[in-house]
């Protein structure tokens, strides 16, 4: 995969994405394995912890982490194809027409229905904690990742 363009100076977001253009220590034309060969690089505890913070997923146990490794291996098969000079495709919808809707009001006015889902409400407002409750640091969490 060709690396995506850099983030901009003004953005609060990250710079270049963390997906390397080529995975380290991989030789081309490995073929035949179909992605079931041994994983060349394990995912570090720091990255797993980072993922748990970002996506609020819980890998829970070694089986969960192993599943992640298998998913990466599966996706790595993409690197076995030579894509030099081929334009990046990021959506199978790229040939479809993006449908444009007319600017008419056709929805809304269903406050009651929406609030039915809310565990807590105050006068037709949803109630949320005062701010984001950050995931505690690795040392303070009860996660199997500790001591990995």
């Amino acid at each position: 995969m060709r690396a995506l363009l850099l983030g901009r100076w003004l953005r609060a977001g990250p710079g270049p994405p963390r997906v390397p253009p080529r995975p380290e220590s991989r030789h081309r034309g490995n073929g035949g394995n179909g992605g079931h060969g041994p994983l060349r690089q394990k995912v570090s505890v720091e990255v797993l912890d980072h993922l748990e913070h970002l996506a609020l997923v819980d890998f829970r146990d070694s089986e969960g982490v192993e599943r992640l490794h298998k998913a990466i291996q599966f996706a790595d098969q993409l690197h076995e194809v030579n894509t030099d000079g081929v334009e990046l495709m990021d959506s199978v919808l790229e040939d479809r027409c993006l449908y444009l809707r007319e600017d008419d009001v056709t929805e809304g006015n269903c406050t009651k229905e929406l609030l039915e889902n809310a565990r807590e409400k105050v006068e037709e407002y949803f109630v949320a904690p005062p701010g984001n409750i950050p995931l505690p640091k690795l040392e303070e969490r009860e996660t199997f990742l500790q001591g990995s």
Partner: protein, 456 residues
């Protein structure tokens, strides 16, 4: 001591003026009952999908063209992930990789001195314009330690205008944003009223010594008016300079402007550097725009956006309007700025000019000095003026025909301001302000005065 060069990069979010939201059919409306303008998609209920609003695309194209941008005929949508109670999906649909418009510029003017007699033109480069969703609104209830969430605003279309760091102080930033505001209002792509949150500005501020690399920047948010924008930026520049001169360092942080204290403070609840995990929006194909050359033959008209068609229908931008006023009426450029700066004032002026024989160059004085100062004193808009353009026109005619003196005219104007429904002529008669034109009568009066003197 080496001079400091401040650097300011503005990020402006303008709410698109449309009936419905960017990706759903719920209504766009300020101050409606909470959660009444929310569709299932806006609430991020499973099974809902985004459907792009044509009007929002047109608004972004208009704005891009008005700001001299290149319009990308193919632009893409992405997801920007972060968790917050007013973002029910956990991500915002935006255009991070290929936005709808890039590489434009905005020209604005500044007064060199406080007398507004000399103006200088500056430009700021526009990096890009992108379409994105607005989030809902959070009301913080600190006493009960909870946040109340209203999703009426969630999904409203925004145009994010990203500027290059070409601005160097609060005054420039204020002037640039004001001009952008006028352009958006002229186009109708956004009503751009800051007080209603339709125009939000964040400022990235840093300082450095000329010739050296840029310094660490801070992001200043929570700026609610153009006046506060200038204050916030100037305060932050000063703060950074003082900090650095005292041997301190600048943290790359987000700060909020406290308008009561007139200073910036670090924002709580910012969890360090965010990783937004940008990814292509899988539910939206690329947005394709056409021009007259590339227009496909057999496509449904409603599904096609023609950039050239939009370009042809752009209204006169403020800079063009000002030029026309100066050329047509012989007024000064500074005057044209003031005319366009007040909503409805230019139209009022033109209406008075039509009604009176007085030369526009003289009329402008009455508009800018008398009418405008009265309006400001009473905090009224032009539309609320108790003196209509017709009444003022009639008054100026009396003055022009020398039926009253200019002092008397000012008195009549003050009387008209009371809005009691009297015409200028009626007031002149009532208060006996008419100039005597009759030579004989004048001689008699003078003679009587002289005679009176002799008798003493």
């Amino acid at each position: 001591l080496a001079p400091w060069a401040p650097v300011v990069g503005l990020e402006i979010h303008a709410q698109i003026s449309s009936n419905s939201k960017l990706f759903s059919g719920s209504q766009v409306q300020f101050a409606a009952p909470p959660n009444s303008l929310v569709s299932f998609f806006d609430a991020s209920l499973p099974g809902t999908l985004p459907v792009l609003n044509r009007r929002c695309v047109e608004a972004a194209v208009m704005t891009g063209l008005a700001l001299n941008c290149s319009i990308n005929k193919k632009s893409l949508f992405d997801r920007k992930h972060y968790f917050y109670a007013d973002l029910p999906a956990g991500y915002q649909i935006t255009q991070q990789r290929v936005p709808i418009a890039v590489n434009g510029c905005l020209s604005y003017s500044l007064c060199i001195d406080s007398k507004m007699s000399q103006m200088v033109t500056k430009t700021v480069r526009i990096k890009q314009i992108q379409l994105e969703q607005d989030s809902g609104k959070s009301l913080h209830d600190d006493t009960r330690s909870q946040t109340l969430v209203d999703l009426n605003r969630a999904g409203v279309g925004l145009m994010e205008v990203v500027m290059e760091p070409d601005v160097c102080c609060g005054e420039e930033a204020a002037a640039a944003v004001r001009e952008l505001q006028l352009i958006l209002q002229t186009l109708g792509s956004s009503q751009a009223v800051m007080a209603e949150g339709q125009l939000r500005v964040d400022a990235n501020v840093s300082v450095h010594h000329p010739g050296e690399p840029y310094g660490v920047r801070t992001e200043v948010k929570n700026i609610n008016s153009i006046r506060f924008l200038a204050k916030a930026i100037d305060y932050e520049i000063q703060r950074q300079i003082e900090e650095l001169e005292n041997g301190g360092t600048i943290l790359n942080e987000t700060r909020a402007f406290d308008s009561k204290l007139g200073c910036t403070v670090p924002m709580r609840d910012k969890e360090g550097k965010q990783d937004y995990r940008f990814m292509p929006e899988p539910n939206l194909p690329p947005l394709i725009l056409y021009d007259t050359k590339s227009l496909p033959a057999n496509m449904n008209h409603q599904q096609v956006i023609n950039i050239d068609w939009i370009h042809e229908r752009l209204p006169d931008l403020p800079s063009v309007k000002r030029k026309k006023l100066v050329e047509k009426y012989g007024i000064l450029p500074e005057h044209s700025f003031t005319l366009l700066n007040e909503d409805g004032l230019a139209e009022f002026f033109e209406s008075v000019v039509k009604r009176t024989q007085m030369k526009p160059k003289k009329v402008i004085g009455w508009i800018l000095n008398d009418l405008l100062s009265y309006l400001k004193q009473h905090s009224l808009t032009v539309k609320e003026s108790p003196v209509s353009s017709f009444l003022l026109g009639d008054l100026l005619n009396l003055l022009e025909k020398k039926e009253i003196s200019s002092t008397a005219a000012k008195q009549v104007f003050a009387e008209l301001w009371k809005g009691e429904g009297k015409t200028p002529l009626e007031i002149v008669k009532e208060q006996k302000l008419g100039l005597l034109q009759d030579q004989k009568e004048l001689e008699q009066i003078c003679q009587a005065v002289i005679d009176g003197q002799e008798n003493e």
